[in-house]
């Protein structure tokens, strides 16, 4: 049986024939081995069994894994010591399927043209990763980088320290984690950077606690699990002012989005309560709010070609087509989701990858299931990135899907293209927003239009700052009055020595409307000075 750190039972196997005499976890925590009478079984960390061997050795009383996680030794009842190594690992990406057939040989099968290539390595293969068109393999002494376009000429370079425990890939570079630290290499084999933070321990890093994208690296701290360190990938230096991202509870899993501009890079993370949050990676100036976008989330993954996020929320499989919506128009978020019942994925599904329009999920019994999502949001993302607004609108008109219109509305507002936003909001029937946008169009100055757009997204602080900066003091005051921020309105009025009477008048009216009496001392003070 397998339990999680809360004590909940994750997996319970069928009763075995003979009593189990020993169990041992592999070093990276991804696998464990089970020994019994004449039996050796290899299991995944979620519990399901990969393979079974029946050596005639009596009961296996003790198992120990090697530090590189490829071999194990077992003490057997008949006095022998048995050695086993893990083989036949498989990696899949798009149309390539790669199998480790022997300790130093891999077979590459291209399913489109049925081509088979064989890759030989000088030393034992320890870890490998296949993604973004490259295969990265680490052996005990070297690292090999193969491009899927040409298997015959790999790039080989020596590793500083032997045992690589994790390989993570992004579109333009990849990360190796070994006992000495984190190393970021380009696909040409050049060491780009080696990020470090005080108290970093590399043996606790795995695919859930480290995330890599083209310009950013995020690492969850082990000493303080509420903290995520964020680094600029190309220099290895901490991003912005160096302070890490801190959350109020311990974090369990982190993931960076892969596409789009560096300034818009987002990180999504799941905390110990299984809530899903998203925030911007920017660490200077004003930090963006950390916004919760899901609960009871068990697993998540960003798409590799567009900033679409998918996750499994309790028993629902959810896709957030445009997670950035929360920073633009919170009300739109529910409209930009795609949800599907996930009960066929069993109790404890893990998302393996989200490539193109296909999502691969592993169920609790070890089987892989694949899901397809609509290709339209991905196309919409592409259009918006290239600012092809007319094409985006035409796509939405063709598909006639409310979800797509909602995404377009949010994207348009984020990119300040109000014309498209108007069309999109009209299509989803949000008349009030359409009217507001119309009114913005009629505003006299560019600054006030900008400010109102910021207001539209709920960024009241920024809107006010912008108005004050451009000298539109009256509008700033009016903004606060409209939001019933009486104290702030009065402060501004007094500071800029203008419109104090206006503020007082509105305040008066407000109190009358609600039948209340003036209790705010400052207002009383000023009311005495000015009479309406």
């Amino acid at each position: 049986q397998v339990w999680d750190s809360f004590g909940r039972a994750l997996y319970s196997s069928q009763p075995q024939e003979y009593p189990i005499t020993c169990i041992a976890w592999a070093v990276d925590g991804e696998l464990f081995a089970v020994g019994s009478f004449n039996t050796l079984r290899l299991c995944d960390k979620t519990g399901w069994s990969y393979a079974l061997e029946k050596p005639n050795t009596g009961s296996i009383f003790n198992i120990s894994w090697s530090t590189d996680g490829t071999q194990l030794a077992g003490a057997c009842g008949n006095g022998h010591v048995i050695f086993a190594h893990v083989v036949e690992q498989r990696w899949e990406w798009k149309n390539f399927e790669i199998t480790l057939i022997k300790r130093r040989t891999m077979k590459v099968h291209n399913v489109i043209n049925d081509a088979v290539d064989s890759l030989e390595f000088r030393d034992r293969v320890i870890k490998a990763s296949l993604d973004y068109g490259y295969l990265v393999v680490s052996t005990s002494l070297q690292c090999y980088v193969f491009s899927t376009k040409n298997w015959n000429t790999p790039l080989i370079f020596d590793l500083k320290e032997g045992t690589v425990s994790l390989i993570l890939q992004a579109e333009r570079h990849f990360l190796l984690v070994d006992g000495g630290g984190l190393y970021l290499y380009s696909y040409e084999g050049r060491l780009i950077s080696s990020p470090k933070y005080p108290g970093m321990r590399t043996d606790t890093l795995n695919a859930q606690t480290v995330s890599l994208s083209n310009d950013t690296l995020a690492v969850k701290d082990k000493a303080d699990e509420k903290v995520i360190y964020i680094f600029e990938a190309l220099s290895g230096k901490p991003l912005g002012d160096g302070k890490p991202l801190t959350h109020k509870t311990e974090i369990v899993e982190i993931a960076l989005d892969q596409k789009g501009l560096t300034s818009e890079r987002k990180i999504a993370f799941i905390d110990k309560n299984r809530d899903l949050y998203i925030t911007s990676v920017k660490r200077f100036g004003k930090e963006q709010k950390i916004v919760k976008i899901g609960t009871m989330v068990q697993s998540l993954a960003w798409n590799d070609t567009a900033n679409i996020l998918c996750g499994i929320q309790d028993s629902r499989f959810t896709v957030w087509y445009y997670p950035n919506t929360v920073y633009v128009d919170k009300d739109l978020l529910p409209k930009t989701l795609y949800e599907k019942d996930a009960s066929e994925f069993s109790k404890n599904p893990q998302i393996v990858c989200f490539v193109g329009n296909q999502i691969t999920i592993r169920r609790a019994d070890g089987s892989l299931v694949h899901l397809n999502v609509s290709p339209y949001p991905g196309i919409l993302h592409d259009y918006v990135r290239a600012s092809r607004w007319a094409d985006a609108v035409r796509l939405c008109r063709f598909v006639k899907d409310q979800t797509l219109w909602a995404c377009l509305a949010a994207m348009a507002v984020a990119n300040k293209d109000m014309a498209t936003a108007e069309i999109a909001y009209a299509a989803i029937g949000e008349i009030d927003k359409v009217q507001y946008i119309n009114s913005i169009k009629d505003l006299p100055s560019k600054e006030s239009r900008m400010a109102h757009m910021l207001l539209f997204s709920g960024n009241t602080q920024e809107a006010e700052t912008l108005l004050l900066q451009s000298g539109l003091v009256y509008q700033a005051i009016q903004l606060n009055i409209n939001l019933y921020n009486w104290d702030r309105a009065l402060d501004l009025a007094v500071k800029h020595k203008t419109h104090v009477d206006t503020v007082l008048a509105y305040r008066q009216k407000f109190l009358e409307d609600f039948g209340k009496k003036e209790t705010n001392k400052r207002f009383l003070q000023y009311a005495e000075g000015v009479s309406v």
Binding site: E17, N38, T39, S49, A51, L52, K54, Q358, R363, D365, G366, S367, L368, V369, H370, L371, N372, P375
Partner: protein, 133 residues
């Protein structure tokens, strides 16, 4: 006759050949005959013993042969029993391996089904375009 009696009381006799004998001739003859008969008896007994001896040896050898055959038979029976158990164990092992393979097959079948569904969806999608345009 008187001489004979006188000799006889002295324990001496004259026999037919006029030799002086210590025993009466008849008794001597009978004694000799007895001696002969005893000798024959002893010879016969010795022969009998020899024959019986060889018979006993033969029977002993037979007994040993029978023992060793018995042991062999017991050994063979034990081996048979253990082979039966070994076969059972082997069968269990194979069953376990079969169960594993079945599980793997089930996993692959599920994956295959989901992929088929995706293929069907994608085909439908493509058809939509063909029929619309």
């Amino acid at each position: 006759p008187m001489a004979q009696a006188a000799l006889g009381s002295a324990g001496l006799h004259f026999d037919d050949l006029n030799k002086l004998r210590v025993l009466e001739p008849e008794v001597a003859a009978q004694t000799a005959q007895l001696r002969e008969e005893c000798r024959a008896f002893v010879d016969k007994t010795a022969e009998f013993q020899k024959i019986v001896g060889s018979l006993i040896e033969l029977v002993d050898q037979l007994a040993k042969a029978a023992e060793s055959e018995k042991m062999k038979a017991i050994g063979a029976r034990n081996l048979l029993k253990s082979i039966a158990k070994q076969r059972e164990a082997q069968e269990q092992q194979l069953q376990a391996l079969i169960a594993e393979k079945k599980m793997q097959l089930e996993r692959y079948r599920i994956e295959y089904e989901t992929l088929c569904k995706i293929e069907a969806d994608q085909n439908e999608f493509i058809d939509q375009f063909i029929f619309q345009k």
